[in-house]
Amino acid sequence: MATLQLLRWAMPLRGRCLHTAPNSTAAALELIRAQPSQYVVASFVGKKYILTPRDLLTVPHLRDVKVGDVLKLDEIHELGSREYTVRGNPTLPAAKVQVQATVVEHTKGSMEIKFKKKRRKGYQKTIKHKHPFTRLRIGDIVINPAPESSST
């Protein structure tokens, strides 16, 4: 079971606490869930990004993915809000936090022109290149989702 540290960023109240520190993972996540907005630090294609709902994430072109597909972010390292943060070891369990991303488009960036020249040698060439990208829209951060009841 991954151990979770709860870090509190709010100003210390010098001995008077409004509430006691949570003693279970569920209570900690419930505290974060109660705050107005949350963010997530997730790895995607090997790189880490700080993501919030409704963000547009641009990554190099993903081959096996079509426009409109919904992907699940399964490497979430940190979940945080204004006053609390929960860090995974190294990732948070997928059952506790779920974030989806919808593929919005496959585009190309603007034209990049590389000019190479060696002087007095008659060597020069121009390389034109448009890098392909995939853009994804991040969905809502679902914390402590209700366990799915298996119906038989």
Binding site: Y49, R54, V67, T102, V104, H106, G109, L136, G139
Partner: protein
């Protein structure tokens, strides 16, 4: 009565529901010129399959007399993309069709520098010198 900017809703296609950006694809070709021959072959062989595979797109084939063949994509943001099919074989035409179907219609802009584009306000808040604990030496 116009809403102030703070109360306006911001579009985020794909957040809750995804609506495909492309709405219409128009193939324009000439019936007589030989430069349109690969386009005509593509339309005869693959157009119906393409239209069935993309039910959200209105597919149109028009005649463009004595001109080079082109393909126009019309998008939900009101923009259109026009690609010339001159010198392309059916496989090349298929690639251009996929390019149009995958695009959102937005103008091409440099995308390397900023991976995350966010309109959400900062979650942890912006540091304020007045509200931070006073540093002590």
């Amino acid at each position: 009565m116009s809403l102030p900017a703070a109360l306006r809703s911001r579009a985020a296609n794909g957040h809750a529901a995804y609506v495909p950006a492309i709405r219409k694809l128009v193939f324009e070709f000439c019936t007589s010129w030989p430069t349109s021959q690969p386009t005509r072959t593509f339309l005869v062989n693959s157009l119906q399959k393409l239209a069935r595979a993309n039910p959200h797109v209105e597919v149109v084939a028009r005649e463009r007399v004595h001109r080079e063949p082109i393909i126009r994509g019309f998008y939900a943001n009101g923009r259109d993309k026009v690609i010339s099919l001159k010198g392309l074989e059916p496989s090349g035409i298929r690639k251009k069709v996929e390019l149009l179907l995958d695009s959102s219609g937005a103008k091409i802009k440099p995308l390397k520098s900023r991976p995350v584009e966010s309109s959400t306000e900062s979650v942890r808040g912006i540091w304020s010198g007045v509200h931070a604990p006073r540093p002590t030496l």
